[in-house]
Amino acid sequence: MSNNRLDAKTRRSRLLANAIVIVLAVITLLPFLWFVVMSFKPADDIFAGVDGFFFTPTLENYTSLWSDRFAASMMNSFITSSVSTALALVIGTPGAYALSRATMKRERTFSLLILASRMAPPVAFAIPYFLVYRYMGLLDTRLGLITVYLTFNLALVVWLMRNFFDATPRALEEAAWIDGASLWKTFMVIVLPMSGPALVTTAILCFLYSWNDFFFALTLTRNNAMTAPVEVVNFMNYEGWEWGKIAAGGTLIMVPVLAFSLLMRKYLVAGMTAGAVKG
């Protein structure tokens, strides 16, 4: 086979593949883009059909919804997501390490149980949580939400970090132990720093899942601790689905997670794979 022919053939197929990827990317982004564009449309143009295709963009949807309440709900989202992520990492990472390093019976059972805790449908769990929280006064508090987010975040942390630790050779730790370093110190000084990237990835995923939660926030908060996704649903009011505002609100809650994900895309990709494939 001549080199030229190979190159041409490869170049052609790459060109074709590139073209297909562009088309696919556009199709994937189209629903999202349409939504964002709608948030800049004045109310009349939204219903105007094809005539409304060319319109003068306006910020009125954003300014009218940017109330104290919406800002507060974004802050609530931010706080509950960050704190629950931090908590999950602090509690879960040592546990993941232990699961990885220790030799124990029924190890697969533990794994399955931890995985099982992710199976809990929020719809079913919301009731017991609601009843208990009411009794304990945790309804409509950020602490309450943070606690409930631990249900899925903790399992996620343990699952991901444990896979990471499994893939990491013990040589360093064992050397440290022989040298007489304490178990705890080895963990803190050697193991943790080494797992930086994995920790970052796990943190991003936990943050993402917490920020995006809808049902728990819907049931367990009122107006003090309401998070952004629930606030958006509140625009669907009795007298009208204000599409412009809904689009604006939806876009606003998307922006933090989008920006976050874009900035951290390398970690995100690495992390998703660590859960399934050794990376």
């Binding site: 999202f32 232990a98 809990a120």
Partner: protein, 321 residues
């Protein structure tokens, strides 16, 4: 090439060597075991509280006819199996299980398929593709409730660009979310759009680590792309596909925002999945006892299913116990 396969083998290699090297004394061993249990204890304790306790509550409540509108029904164990008997004859529940099965199977298969196709494509890793890779992540990171609203817009003829297009073309297309035959498909499309990036990324990363030797050897032998894919790539990906599928299966049981916003379980009950049925029973009528029983059954099904799949994934490997 499954996760548990690889990790168990790895651990065996490293562990044995490690233990020999460290020359550990029994005292140190005991100390180490204690240390690990200490680290694990908080995790187990907290998971027990936040996950096990509510499940126990649901289990216990499933034996009562608890109805929040009727206080007398709380803790009424006079007829513990009443809910379970009822659910055996509950046609609407059986319908919801069937709808759930349809939704889960089709979405998982489609997500694996699209994820696979896009991943195979992106695996060519041209500079353009590397740049565009992030755009495929977008559907997955959006809050699910926003995804639901986006698709509500797309499926509402009044404001959807699709229908303006149809109008221009002169087609009179009904909206799928009110059509008994198409409503579930509408939800499947939205769900697949939302989650195919998940499977795509996992497969893409697995592909990145695929050993090149086999593939190159086959190429030299003149294998076509299709043969390469079918006989080399796919078998390599088997474990990955299973794990990705398992994750998506578990999450598909929890589908809520799409149905809440798009169809409310309708028209009729064609898009009412079990999760949604539980929602209606608990939150519209306060039949907590009954919905708890349904939840228990659903959870049991998921656990059993996951167990089967995990065994399939790690099938054959001897995990050192």
């Amino acid at each position: 090439m499954s996760t548990l396969d690889v990790e168990s083998r790895h651990r065996k290699d490293v562990g044995l060597a490690g233990r020999a090297k460290a020359g550990t004394s029994p005292a140190f061993e005991r100390q180490r075991q204690r240390f690990f249990w200490l680290l694990l204890a908080p995790v187990l304790a907290i998971l027990a509280v936040v996950t096990l306790l509510p499940t126990l509550y649901l289990l216990v409540t499933s034996f009562t006819p608890l109805n929040l509108a009727n206080p007398a029904t709380a803790w009424d164990f006079s007829d513990p199996l009443v809910n379970y008997r009822t659910l055996l004859t509950d046609d609407r529940l059986h319908n919801s299980l069937w709808v759930q099965a349809k939704l889960s199977v089709v979405t998982v298969v489609l997500q694996l398929l699209f994820g696979l196709l896009v991943a195979l494509l992106l695996n060519m890793r041209t500079p353009l593709m590397n740049a565009l890779r992030t755009s495929f992540l977008v559907p997955m990171v959006l809050p699910p409730i926003v995804v639901a609203i986006i698709w509500k817009v797309l499926y509402s003829p009044d404001i959807s660009p699709a229908w303006w297009l149809f109008q221009v073309l002169g087609w009179n297309v009904q909206t799928p979310i009110t059509d008994a035959g198409w409503a579930l498909t509408a939800i499947i499309v939205a769900d697949t759009w939302e989650w195919f990036p998940f499977t795509m990324i996992i497969i893409l990363a697995a592909l990145a680590m695929m050993p090149e030797e086999q593939r190159e050897a086959a190429e030299v032998d003149g294998a076509s792309i299709w043969q390469l894919t079918w006989y080399i790539t796919l078998p390599y990906l088997k474990g990955t596909l299973l794990v990705a599928g398992l994750f998506r299966l578990i999450d598909s049981i929890k589908t809520f925002p799409l149905i809440y916003i798009l169809t409310d379980g309708g028209p009729g009950s064609v898009t009412e999945v079990s999760n949604y049925y539980i929602f209606v029973q608990s939150f519209s009528f306060s039949y907590i006892g009954y919905s708890a029983a349904v939840t228990m059954v659903l959870l049991a099904m998921i656990v059993v299913l996951s167990w089967i799949i995990i065994r399939a994934v790690s099938g054959g490997s001897n995990v050192e116990q």
